[in-house]
Symmetry: C2
Subunit: 359 residues, 2 copies
C-alpha cells in the first residue's frame, strides 16, 4: 500500500521543480524571484518567463528553508504579563496593524509575573529565531538578547532596548490639577503593583506634583494593588476589577477622610467605584474617582470614567514601527526612549469636592 498522506501538500512545487519546468537553473530562478542585485544581468525576457511560471504554478518558497539560510524569521516575540483586558488589548491593536502591514507575524508569551518565565520565554523565542522583541509592561533589566528589543511602558536603561514611555509627570499634573481645581485637597491614591514598571515612576511623579501643588499626601490614604495570588494557573483573571475593589474596601474600613481617589488604572477604578457604591458612597457626589489608561469601556461604565488617556494604541503602533525599523537596519542608531503625551479625559466620575458629614 502506498502512503496517501505526503508531508507536503500534493501540488506543492519547490524551487527545483520550478527550475526544471522552466529549463533554467535554480540559481537563475532564485535570483529573479528575490530581485537580487546580481540578477541585473538577466534579460527582461527571462525574468518575465520566471515570474509568470512562479505565479502560474503557485510557487511558495519554503519558509523554513528560507529562514534557515537567511537566519531571519519574519516574526517577532511579544512578551506580556497576561492577555488582560484593556492594556494588552489596546496596545496590541496598534502593534498588529504595523506588523501585519510589514508581513510579520508574532508569538505571544505570557509570563504571569513569574521571574523565571520572564527570563526563559525570551530565550525560547530566540531559539525560534524571532527577529525582535516587543516587551509590554515587562521589566527588561535582566534581559540580554541578540536581537532588537522595544519595551512599552518599561523604564530600564538597557543597551539594545528602546523604551516607549508615557510622560508621567504631565499625566499626573493633569489629573491632580483637575482634582485640585474642583476643590479636592484630601486625595487618596491607589498605587500600582510593585511588579509593574510604571508603578514606581507614576508614584514618584505623584509625590513630585503634590509638592508643587502644595498637596499633602496622607500615608493612611495610600493603598496599593496587591499582586499576591495573581496567577493564570488558578484561573483567576489577573486584571479583573477585583484588584481595585479589595484595596478600596480595605481603605474605606479604616479611613474615610478623603474626597477623591486617583487609581492606578481604569480596571482598578471600576472596581473601586463598585466598592464605594457598596459602602454607601456616591460617585462623584461623595468621592471623585480618576482612572488611568482610558480603556474602551471607560466611556460606557456608570458613571463614566474621568481618566488619564494613555495613547495605548499609538504606543503599540510606534513601538512596532521602531522595532521593524531597527530590524531592517541593524547597525543603525536608534532612539533609547520615546515619550508619548497623555491627555486628561473628563467624564462623570469626578465632580466638585463637597464638605461631607463624617460618614
Amino acid at each position: 500500500m502506498v502512503k496517501t498522506t505526503t508531508s507536503t501538500p500534493p501540488g506543492h512545487v519547490n524551487l527545483r521543480m520550478l527550475a526544471e519546468h522552466l529549463e533554467l537553473s535554480q540559481t537563475t530562478v532564485s535570483l529573479v524571484l528575490n530581485n537580487s542585485p546580481s540578477a541585473k544581468s538577466i534579460p527582461e525576457e527571462t525574468r518575465k518567463r520566471v515570474m509568470e511560471a512562479a505565479e502560474r504554478l503557485n510557487y511558495r518558497p519554503n519558509y523554513f528553508a528560507r529562514s534557515l539560510r537567511q537566519s531571519r524569521s519574519m516574526s517577532v516575540g511579544v512578551l506580556a504579563p497576561d492577555l488582560s483586558e484593556g492594556y494588552f488589548t489596546s496596545v496590541m491593536s496598534g502593534v498588529v496593524q504595523e506588523l501585519t502591514a510589514a508581513h510579520y507575524f508574532f508569538f505571544t508569551a505570557c509570563h504571569d509575573w513569574n521571574r523565571e518565565l520572564i527570563e526563559r520565554y525570551p530565550r525560547m523565542l530566540v531559539e525560534r529565531a524571532v527577529d525582535g522583541f516587543l516587551l509590554l509592561n515587562t521589566p527588561a533589566d535582566h534581559i540580554d538578547l541578540p536581537v532588537p528589543v522595544v519595551a512599552i511602558s518599561a523604564h530600564s536603561r538597557v543597551e539594545n532596548v528602546t523604551n516607549i514611555v508615557l510622560d508621567h509627570h504631565s499625566a499626573v499634573i493633569q489629573a491632580l490639577r483637575h482634582l485640585y481645581d474642583l476643590g479636592h485637597r484630601r486625595i487618596a491614591f491607589m498605587r500600582g503593583p510593585r511588579a509593574i514598571p510604571d508603578s514606581e515612576f507614576r508614584w514618584e511623579s505623584i509625590q513630585e506634583v503634590a509638592r508643587e501643588l502644595g498637596l499633602k499626601i496622607d500615608p493612611s490614604c495610600v493603598i496599593r494593588i496587591d499582586t499576591a495570588g495573581w496567577s493564570m494557573k488558578t484561573g483567576y483573571h489577573p486584571m479583573a476589577p477585583e484588584i481595585g475593589y479589595k484595596p478600596m474596601q480595605a481603605l474605606l474600613e479604616k479611613n474615610r477622610d478623603f474626597t477623591a481617589i486617583f487609581c492606578f488604572n481604569d480596571i482598578a477604578a471600576i472596581g473601586a467605584i463598585r466598592a464605594l457604591k457598596d459602602a454607601g458612597c456616591a460617585v462623584p457626589e461623595d468621592v471623585s474617582v480618576v482612572g488611568f489608561d482610558d480603556i474602551v469601556s471607560a466611556a460606557y461604565t456608570t458613571p463614566s470614567l474621568t481618566t488619564v488617556r494613555q495613547p495605548l494604541m499609538e504606543m503599540g503602533k510606534r513601538g512596532a514601527q521602531v522595532l521593524l525599523e531597527r530590524i531592517a537596519n541593524r547597525n543603525q542608531e536608534f532612539p533609547a526612549e520615546i515619550t508619548m503625551a497623555p491627555e486628561l479625559v473628563v467624564r462623570e466620575s469626578t465632580g466638585p469636592a463637597t464638605v461631607r458629614r463624617k460618614l
Copy 2:
C-alpha cells in the same frame, strides 16, 4: 578584514561542533539526543557522555533546521476576528495554559472579518508549518487545511474540524425563563452581527424557546448589531460598547413598548444600558437587561450584569486540549463537536416587570 559579526551568536554550538568535541559522528549524537529507536544499540556509557556534553555546552538544536527536516513547528495558529475585550481575552487565557504546558507557541492573526484575510492568513500560517489551527469565533466553512483544526464558537460541519460550541438552546431557555418568571412578556432582542457564527444559531434558539414559552416576538423590537464600518485600520476598536449603544438608541427612538432586552453579549449590553440611561430609562426599574458571556467586568459595572455565563476559559482550554491531542495522534478518530453548558448568572440588571406609563 575578517567578518566580525557572524550570523549565529558567538558561543552558539551546533551539532557538528558538539560531535567534533565528543569525537563522535553527528549521527550518533543526533540519535542519542532524540532518543531515536535506532539508538537503542548505543551503549549507556556513550549516551551519558553525549547528554552531559550537550548540557555543558548548552547545545540548542537549530529550530529551522529541525523544522525543515521534520516539517513540524511546535506552534499553532490562532485565527480571531480581533483582539477584542472579553471574548478573545477569556478564551485565550484558557488556550495559553494548555499550549504553554505542552511547550507550544502560537501565532495570532486577526482577520477583522475580511473575507479575503480569513482565507489568506490560514494559508500563510500553513506555509509557516503551524501544526494546527484554533479558530475563534470565525466561520470555518471555506477553509481546507492540511492540519487539524479546532473551531471555538463556530458551527461549520467540515471534515477535519472539531467544533467547540455552547448549548445555545439551554442558554436561551435560562435567560428567557428568568425574564418570563419576572413577569416580562414584551422582550426586545439585540441580535448579533451576521458575520459572527453564533449569531444565527442563537437567534434560532431564541425563536424556538419563545414559541415554547408562548412568547410573541415583535419584529419591531428586534435590533441588530451592525458591523458595517468595523475596521482595525481606522483604529476603531470593534468590540467597544458602542456596538450596543447605537442600535439601542435607534430602537428607543421608534419603540419603547418593551420591558426587557436580551443582548447578544456583555459588551453590547453595557452600551445598551448606557443608551437606556441616556434616554431616561432606569435599569432594571424600567427595562431589564440580560447580557451574554459573563466577561470579567460584568460583575463590576453599575448595575452589575445579569448574563448567561459562557465558560469561555474552559472552552479555550478544552479546544487547545483537543487540538494538541489531534496533533499528537494524527490518524486517530476525533470528536466533531463538543458542547459546553451555559449558566445564568443573576445580578442587578434584571428585575420584576413593572407596568410602566407609556414613556
